[in-house]
């Protein structure tokens, strides 16, 4: 509960901070401080030091898993603020509001990590989405930004409609919005589940697939990520997406059975399709930003494995994945924002002009590619391991790793551009503090790549 309340309050604080000062540096720092408070509050609840007691009437349920995810998400946001804060305030005149919206999104995140019923789930999703529509369009003069925001909004609300229809059908079949009841229901056989409930869940599933941009509901992703201001793309592609997955998992780990055996077939198809679309299409992209958009689809394909094999290994995995993927992507975007030319050629020879950026960027890319000694490796490792542990099909895993190999192909194109191609990549001026924080992030990624349990250790007590 701490997280939800605090994030809301922080949001309000940010709104008002905009009134009292126009100095963007101050606003940024306030945001960082507020975020630290938020993290502290959440940790208080995680380690049950102090918790705001609210009788949620079973609409919310706080698990270690959810709280721990909050921590990860907030820390990732902190990193994001530190790396890209300067660029956030640079997007437009509404620095304070942007931060406020981000905090509201975080509120949505913390709801999604703790909802215990479709009602809160729905509200959480909406709180998560609506600010994003706005952030996407934050760069008001930029037609691309406008277009992205409108596309995002239209398709988003459409998927909301589908989601609601799903919820309605589930409600009709089960007579409740809770997660538990239908689980009990399904305990005594699929036959009782009838048809409306599964179809409702199917619609729910589809709308969630849309949110996490799984094929064939991924179409908004490239355009929106491409059009939105890069800083906000970074936020959407990482924390928000991870939250989406958490919601997805928490929603379906209890209900998957209702879909019957078909469930275990539908998901592989979606996974393979997502991997295919994401990886294959990314290969040909010339703009790094767009390539990252597709790569995020590909990564989503991998995260879906956690859903496919919903065991505790998968849960740990998705947390690690969220952390690794968010950190790496945030880092890459932070560098991307500094580039004057987003195209691959824009990176040519970065190693000479900005060795530190090139090096750290390489670490991030390696992590995304899942090369050992980076956190990304263990993230993927957990996913595959969880599938194999469930006795899932080897062939699916093999397909996955083959696509991982393809992903290496386009990630390494960037590395090639930075190191092996001639040219002098032009960047905006770069503070040494920025470099330092990049190095720190890279170090964290490598550390997690050697001792992943350092992160997951929290779960084991």
């Amino acid at each position: 509960m701490n997280a939800i309340i605090l994030s809301a309050i922080c949001g309000v604080i940010m709104m008002f901070s905009g009134i009292f000062t126009t100095n963007k540096a101050i606003i940024k720092n306030v945001a960082i401080i507020a975020l630290l408070v938020l993290i502290a509050g959440n940790l208080c609840q995680t380690y049950s030091i102090y918790t705001v007691v609210v009788d949620t009437k079973d609409l919310l349920a706080f698990s270690k898993f959810g709280l721990f995810f909050n921590t990860i998400a907030f820390i990732a946001t902190l990193v994001y603020f530190i790396l890209s804060g300067a660029d956030i305030v640079a997007v437009g005149d509404y620095a304070a509001e942007y931060f406020a919206l981000i905090f509201f999104v975080l509120c949505g995140v913390s709801i999604l990590s703790s909802f215990n019923g479709l009602l809160m789930f729905f509200i959480g999703i909406e709180i998560l989405s609506i600010p994003l529509y706005i952030l996407t369009g934050a760069d008001k003069k930029n037609l691309k930004s406008n277009e992205a925001s409108l596309k995002y909004f239209l398709m988003g609300s459409f998927s909301t409609g589908i989601m609601l229809m799903g919820i309605a059908l589930v409600y009709g079949a089960t007579g409740s919005f809770g997660l538990a009841s239908s689980a009990i229901k399904s305990a005594n056989g699929i036959s009782n589940a009838g048809i409306l409930a599964p179809i409702g869940l199917l619609l729910l599933f589809i709308s969630m697939a849309f949110k996490v941009s799984a094929a064939p509901f991924h179409f908004w992703t490239p355009d929106v990520y491409d059009g939105a201001p890069s800083v906000f793309t970074s936020f959407m592609a990482t924390i928000v997406k991870a939250a989406g997955f958490i919601a997805f998992i928490r929603l379906f780990e209890a209900k998957a059975e209702d879909l019957g055996p078909t469930w275990k077939i539908l998901l592989p198809i979606i996974i393979v399709a997502t991997l295919l679309v994401g990886n294959i299409t990314a290969v040909f992209q010339q703009s790094v930003k767009r390539m990252l958009a597709y790569s995020s689809i590909a990564q989503a394909g991998f995260m879906l494995f956690a859903l496919y094999s919903s065991n505790e290994l998968a849960q740990e995995g998705i947390l690690l994945y969220a952390a690794a993927y968010s950190l790496a992507t945030i880092g890459i975007f932070a560098i991307l924002v500094k580039m004057q030319d987003y195209s691959l050629d824009g990176y040519n020879g970065l190693a000479k002009t900005q060795p530190v950026l090139a090096a750290t960027n390489t670490v991030f890319l390696l992590s995304l590619a899942g090369i050992p000694l980076t956190a990304g490796f263990f993230a993927k490792y957990y996913m595959l391991a969880s599938v194999i542990k469930n006795g899932g099909s080897i062939s699916l895993v093999i397909i996955a790793v083959l696509f991982a190999a393809i992903s290496v192909y386009y990630y390494f194109k960037v590395i090639q551009a930075m190191y092996f191609k001639e040219g002098n990549a032009a960047t905006y001026e770069i503070k040494s503090s920025f470099k330092l924080s990049l190095v720190v992030v890279a170090a964290i990624i490598i550390y997690l790549g050697i001792f992943p349990t350092a992160l997951l250790g929290f779960l084991y007590f």
Binding site: I195, I206, F210, P216, F219, I265, L266, P268, I280, T281
Partner: protein, 643 residues
């Protein structure tokens, strides 16, 4: 025991030391030093060998083991030498003849600049080393080491003048052809290891009974393949004539006296195996005889002095194998020895001639050298008589023994053998006559420079001539005197195993005498005929035709091999390199990459940017999913087969 161990080590290693010293010091040692050292080393080994010879005479065969060369599980291959009647005889020949040829070389190669001079002697020493390893080795692997070692040295020495690419090709050809044989040898060794788990002679011969006759046949056949390569038998003989590219003393030492007889040594060494494999023996006899005749026919029309000798070598080797094939092991070894004498003599004589003629090798450009170089003339004539098998020259005894044994086996072999002998007589005396008789056909300035060679050349000639003349008397056949065949008695321990297996009933004396007489008569007639046919040989360059042309072109064998083996392999290689590798395998690999790129280009078109299309696709996929789902999920079932 200890003494013999040290002695053998000395005999083998001393030339190696020579090789190292001459090889490493080649840049800063005078020719004199080099020559002295090169010869000295061999002399040392030679003297030691004589001592060893007498040691063996006293206390028979011995094995000296030094260390484990390979010791894996049950397989033990010690680095050990076996000295017995056979090997002691061979090391005498090798070091003895080797020494003479070293001495000869000191003068023959004197025009070389010091470092190449040293290189030459280094190689020569290395050769002696490997050859000794070959004959002294107490198991087939050690023998194989020497076997390949001599191949290496012959490669190095044939290509000694490496600036000339033809020589290099000849060297390469020699090595590769030998390798073909070596493969056979190796496989035989594997077979032995596979069946008996040992390669040491003593064990193998002791446990030969454990082998099925088929095994023995295979092993012996494979070993013989090795011999074919090394001893230039059909069909692997073509390298030997080309090997004449090397310096003449090398031809004398390696390609006449020693290396090429390794095959005979090997078979004599494993005579028991062969005696137990009559099939292989027959095969050997036929190959040997065929080679003898075939080479002889070619020799008839050769005009290069060394080529003639080369083919005669091949043919003589054929005789030796004939001997082995018909079970006359002693005879074969005997012929090896005599052949070593007279063929070395002939080569050295030829070398002396070539030297005098300023590296002119075509006998049509020679003639009448008698008066210019008397010693060479005499010695060469003796050599010819020896090889022609005129009594009492050495060749007579050895060849006669083989032919007698052949008659024993099958008269046809005998008659063909005799025919070969007559051909030999013919081409040798053709050679002699064209070279030394008649009048000189070369250019004038050649004529002016004609002179007898220096003593370093003539002395070895004389010594060898003496040996070639009297060498035969160590094997006087029963016909003339009882128990006079010293060599047979000497080698008896080696071949007693075989003797025990097949009872030899000698030809009755009267018939043998008759045969001898007839053959000798024929030979003499041939000699006279050729003598006065070619002593007044006039150079007339008319294009030969028909069969003669075929002979001149050596039956077109090289061309044949080129057509049926080299060309196809070449083509295959080119196909693999340019088509199969590039388009085939690598093509597929790159094809995958291209496929990804292509599908990427196609797939991105779906991202049309139209919200309408996006939503449409979404709706359609929703419909599809639900539709399939409610229709009893048959399609999903199908897919579930995949996952």
């Amino acid at each position: 025991m200890q003494t013999i161990k040290i002695l053998l080590a000395f005999i083998v290693l001393w030339p190696l030391v020579g090789f190292l010293v001459n090889g490493l010091g080649r840049n800063f040692r005078s020719k004199k030093m080099t020559a002295l050292y090169g010869c000295g080393q061999i002399l040392g080994s030679f003297l030691a060998s004589i001592y060893v010879f007498f040691l063996v005479k006293e206390n028979g065969s011995q094995v000296a083991t030094y260390f484990d060369f390979i010791n894996v599980g049950t397989l033990k291959i010690p680095m050990s030498f076996q000295i017995d009647q056979l090997s002691s005889l061979f090391i005498l020949i090798i070091t003895g003849v080797g020494f003479l040829i070293h001495v000869y070389s000191t003068s023959y190669m004197r025009d070389e600049e010091p470092k190449h001079y040293a290189r030459y002697f280094a190689y020569l020493n290395l050769f002696i080393f490997s050859m000794l390893l070959l004959v002294l080795g107490a198991n087939y692997v050690i023998m194989f080491i020497g076997w390949e070692g001599v191949g290496l040295c012959s490669y190095l020495l044939i290509g000694f003048w490496f600036k000339n690419d033809n020589y290099n090709y000849a060297a390469k050809k020699a090595f590769i052809m030998n390798r073909i044989g070596d493969l056979g040898f190796l496989l035989a060794v594997f077979y032995l290891i596979n069946k008996l788990g040992t390669v040491t002679y003593i064990d193998v011969f002791a446990r030969v009974g454990e082998l099925s006759s088929q095994d023995i046949t295979i092993i012996t056949a494979l070993l013989f393949v090795g011999a074919m390569g090394k001893s230039a038998q059909l069909p692997l003989y073509t390298w030997l004539p080309d090997a004449m590219a090397g310096p003449t003393p090398v031809s004398a030492l390696i390609h006449a006296a020693t290396m090429v007889t390794a095959g005979i040594y090997m078979i004599a060494r494993s005579n028991i195996l062969y005696t137990m494999a009559p099939g292989t023996q027959g095969f050997i006899a036929i190959i040997g005889l065929a080679t003898a005749l075939f080479a002889a026919t070619i020799a008839l029309k050769q005009n290069d002095i060394k080529k003639v000798l080369a083919y005669s070598t091949v043919s003589q080797l054929g005789y030796m194998f004939l001997g082995l094939g018909v079970g006359a092991y002693t005879g074969a070894v005997f012929h090896v020895m005599t052949h070593a004498f007279f063929k070395a003599l002939l080569f050295l004589g030829a070398g002396s001639v070539i030297h005098a003629m300023h590296h002119e090798q075509d006998i049509r450009k020679m003639g009448g050298l008698k008066k210019f170089m008397p010693i060479t003339n005499i010695t060469f004539l003796l050599g010819c008589l020896a090889i022609a098998g005129v009594p009492p020259f050495s060749g007579f005894f050895s060849k006669d023994e083989i032919l007698a044994a052949a008659f024993e086996k099958n008269p046809i072999l005998y008659y063909l053998g005799v025919a070969g002998a007559l051909m030999t007589t013919f081409y040798m005396f053709r050679l002699y006559a064209m070279t030394f008789l008649g009048k000189f056909r070369g250019t004038n300035d050649q004529e002016h420079h004609l002179h007898e060679s220096p003593s370093a050349i003539t002395i070895p000639l004389i010594i060898l001539a003496i040996l070639a003349t009297v060498g035969g008397f160590i094997g006087i056949p029963e016909v003339f005197a009882t128990n006079s065949h010293w060599l047979e008695q000497w080698l008896a321990p080696i071949f007693e195993g075989s003797k025990a297996l097949v009872e030899v009933h000698a030809v009755n004396h009267s018939q043998e005498l008759l045969m001898m007489g007839v053959v000798t008569g024929l030979v003499l007639i041939t000699i006279m005929f050729t003598w006065n046919k070619f002593s007044k040989y006039e150079e007339k360059n008319i294009e030969e035709t028909g069969f003669v042309k075929v002979l001149e072109n050596k039956w077109y064998v090289d061309e044949l091999y080129d057509a049926i083996i080299v060309k196809p392999l070449d083509g295959l290689a080119v196909f693999f390199k340019n088509i199969f590798e590039k388009s085939g395998i690598d093509g597929t690999v790159n094809g995958v990459g291209r496929l990804v790129n292509y599908s990427s280009r196609q797939l991105r078109l779906v991202q049309s940017g139209q919200v309408g299309n996006y939503i449409l696709i979404m709706v359609l996929s929703i419909i599809v999913i639900i539709f399939i789902w409610i229709n009893d999920a048959t399609i999903f079932r199908f897919i579930s087969k995949i996952f």
